[in-house]
């Protein structure tokens, strides 16, 4: 589904990604862990087409050259990012925003748009997944939302927009254990054979709830190690110390699910 090859990204002269290789198959959930500044969020940004990076390498998504597409075209292709810091859009109703987004995607995919009533029915059903009540929908996008509410709102959007590939950028950060459970349940409910996910996190804790097929460790802009879900537990015990020296990523199993 997604194949990242030798991906480099820099801002001005600062190299952040230094040759990332990664492959996700349909239905797989991979976790990316790693210390601060290792390039995890940059990877997410580059995948959705944030401006400001100089990017080389290739990202193939369902046979398409993802890097050649605009952010909205990537969304239409089925790419979704649950933002680490969802932005507030004052005065724009949450419901209206999501309906506009869904209908934009449907339009670009040649599907019929949903009218407000049909959308409301869909939204109400999906809101149950993340235990949100309707009052969220009449508020402005993320405005005055608590950290946990913002994260739930991201997962709700994922549930409504139904991407084929979702990146969850530190969706667990700032969540208490109850909110974490709600968000994780929402994510798990959205796991399906046709949908892949890349879960970026600092904490093994999230992976107790969202059990990944593979865990990758990113250090200094490269995937330094890959393994099964036990790797997360090992990291939790030993930390990232020592991984930094293993710069020779080539000898490590990379995207090893061929």
């Amino acid at each position: 589904m997604l194949k990242i090859e030798n991906l480099h990204a820099s801002i001005e002269d600062k190299k952040i990604l230094r040759g990332v290789n990664l492959e996700l198959k349909a239905g797989e959930v991979h976790a990316i862990m790693g210390p601060n500044g290792s390039g995890k969020s940059t990877l997410a940004s580059v995948l959705i087409g944030r401006e400001g990076y100089t990017v080389t390498g290739s990202v193939s998504f369902q046979g398409q050259d993802l890097l050649a597409l605009s952010p909205e075209d990537r969304a239409a292709a089925g790419v979704f990012l649950a933002f680490q810091h969802p932005v507030e859009i004052p005065g724009v109703g949450n419901m209206y925003f999501m309906r506009t987004a869904l209908n934009s995607l449907r339009r670009q995919r040649g599907q019929e748009e949903l009218d407000p009533m049909d959308f409301l029915a869909l939204a109400q059903e999906r809101m149950k997944l993340v235990e949100m009540d309707q009052s969220f929908m009449s508020r402005s996008v993320n405005e005055g939302f608590s950290g946990g509410e913002k994260k739930r709102n991201e997962i709700l959007q994922m549930a409504i927009l139904e991407p084929t590939f979702a990146v969850l950028d530190e969706t667990d950060s700032g969540l208490d254990i109850d909110a974490l459970r709600v968000v994780a349940n929402g994510v798990n409910a959205l796991r399906s054979e046709g949908r892949s996910m890349l879960v970026i996190t600092h904490h093994q804790r999230l992976l107790d709830y969202i059990v990944p097929d593979q865990v990758h460790v990113m250090v200094a802009g490269q995937i330094a190690r890959s393994g099964g879900k036990d790797l997360a537990i090992e990291l939790e015990e030993n930390g990232y110390a020592g991984l930094g020296q293993q710069e020779n990523a080539d000898r490590l199993p990379v995207g090893s699910t061929r």
Partner: protein, 487 residues
């Protein structure tokens, strides 16, 4: 407030002289549809005669003209434009269909097509929305609808010219009572040469059951527009008035200097909404409308309330400060504004709130959006006089910048002469967030649509003050006006 102007015994000699000049002047042809370019007393006499006006009104116009020629065009506003040649403007133009019209069916098909282009089939408006539309095409009213229904409850809603003929006592009493002819350069000019406009009178205790709406339209090339609107709300009455404008493409600048006067008596309420979409000029700023408007309401009575809501998306230059003089105790003044400047547009706009009565209260919410090379200035005056015990004002000015070549400026003036006055001012300036745009685009919303969505959200506080169908139109206007301003 000044006393209504009265005829000041113009001498027979002067009148004879005037008539003589008129007789031999180049403007004697009463059947002419278009006056020659330029402005002098003859032109004013022509206009007045064309409109069959009473002597006192001609005299008032002449006084205004004689004052105007002593004045200089203001230069303090934060806009720049080439010199306006006031002698190169046509001050009177009548539209082709001259006979009185009984129904919209009699309207010139060309005019009707124009309405269709505007998306406002007048007949449809009349039938579907219950809006009485007083259509002004080039200075003269060609059709007035719903008049009979309104007349049944005593509401007068007609063209200004008609009001002069049918209700001269009301016009004479209130004309210039809020904005005297000496008020400012453009108001003086308007007083001298105004050709038509709207008149609205709501009698005591009447709540006007429908929104009164006038669509203004400029259609003859190089015709200066000088409308004059007067709205009077008697004790315990209510009226909501809508004004909407568009103009076709033009090569030379069109000058527009309207005057709107509102009078609200005891417990009366006037809500005045404007959507202004005149031609803003091309990408280089050529050809747009110059919009120099004086709008003021007099909250004369106790507990009276006047609200201005404006959405300004058009014109090359906007110079406009709708204000309220809060004379009655406990009276309320409100100003809600969205001003958008894109391309090379310049706007210097804001509000004046003059607190005279006790416990008077005013609110100013201004949303300025700048894109392209647009320059947007908020200029406001909150003036709390000695007598205004317990007066309060809240002002909020927010500016949104799109792109790097535009500008936003804020000049809030505050004068408080009563120690019990409370004035609050909040201001913010923000760039349309890259982060907001990326968020929208990541969700699949194309960039232009995202900008329009973010901008409309920014303006929501103002839009929600507009009548429903106007709010929808305003949102569309913003989106259209912003086209091409990103990317």
């Amino acid at each position: 407030m000044t006393a209504p102007t009265t005829t000041t015994g113009i001498s027979d000699e002067v009148r004879d002289l005037a008539n003589q000049e008129y007789q031999y002047g180049f403007v004697t042809d009463l059947d002419t549809d278009v006056a020659p370019r330029g402005l002098n007393e003859d032109i004013i006499r022509l206009i007045s005669k064309k409109k069959n006006e009473p002597e006192w009104l001609l005299e008032w116009r002449l006084q205004a003209f004689r004052h105007w020629i002593t004045m200089a065009e203001p230069t303090w506003q934060h806009v720049s434009y080439g010199p306006v040649d006031y002698q190169d403007i046509i001050y009177y133009a009548a539209p082709k269909p001259k006979k009185q019209l009984a129904s919209m069916d009699e309207v010139d098909p060309e005019l009707r097509e124009m309405f269709n282009k505007l998306g406002i089939s007048v007949a449809e408006q009349e039938r579907l929305s219950g809006v009485a539309v007083d259509v002004i095409v080039d200075s003269v009213s060609v059709a007035t609808t719903f008049k009979d229904k309104l007349a049944a409850i005593g509401v007068i809603f007609c063209s200004f010219s008609e009001a002069v003929q049918e209700h001269p006592e009301l016009v004479r009493k209130y004309l210039g009572s809020v904005i005297p002819y000496k008020d400012n350069f453009f108001a003086s000019l308007n007083a001298a040469v105004f050709t038509d406009g709207s008149f609205c009178y709501i009698p005591k205790g009447v709540r006007c059951p429908m929104e009164l709406s006038t669509y203004f339209r400029i259609n003859a090339a190089d015709t200066g527009q000088f409308e004059r609107t007067l709205i009077i709300a008697e004790d315990d009455s209510y009226v909501s008035y809508l004004e909407g404008c568009t103009a076709p493409m033009r090569d030379t600048n069109q000058m527009h200097a309207a005057v709107v006067e509102l009078v609200a008596l005891d417990n009366a309420q006037i809500k005045y909404s404007t959507v202004q979409n005149w031609y803003p000029g091309d990408a280089e700023g050529k050809g747009g409308v110059y919009n120099f408007v004086t709008k003021r309401g007099l909250a004369a009575g106790v507990n009276s309330k006047i609200s201005w809501t404006q959405v300004e998306t058009g014109s090359a230059i906007t110079w406009k400060y709708p204000g309220v003089v809060l004379k009655g105790d406990n009276s309320v003044g409100e100003f809600y504004s969205v001003a958008l400047t894109a391309r090379r547009q310049q706007a210097d706009t804001g509000s004046k709130m003059v607190h005279i009565g006790k416990n008077t209260k005013s609110t100013i919410i201004s949303k300025a959006i700048s894109a392209g090379h647009g320059q947007n200035t908020y200029r406001g005056l909150v003036d709390i006089r000695h007598s205004a015990k317990g007066a309060r004002n809240f002002t909020q000015c927010d500016s949104l910048l799109i792109g790097k070549d535009c500008g936003a400026h804020t000049f809030p003036y505050v004068e408080v002469k009563n120690p019990t006055g409370q004035v609050e001012h909040e201001a913010s300036t923000s760039k349309i967030g890259e982060e907001q745009l990326l968020y929208c685009r990541q969700r699949g919303i194309p960039e232009e649509e995202a900008v329009s969505m973010i901008v409309n959200g920014f303006c929501r506080e103002v839009f929600k003050m507009l009548p429903m169908e106007f709010a929808v139109e305003a949102q569309k206007l913003l989106s259209v006006s912003l086209e091409g301003s990103v990317g």
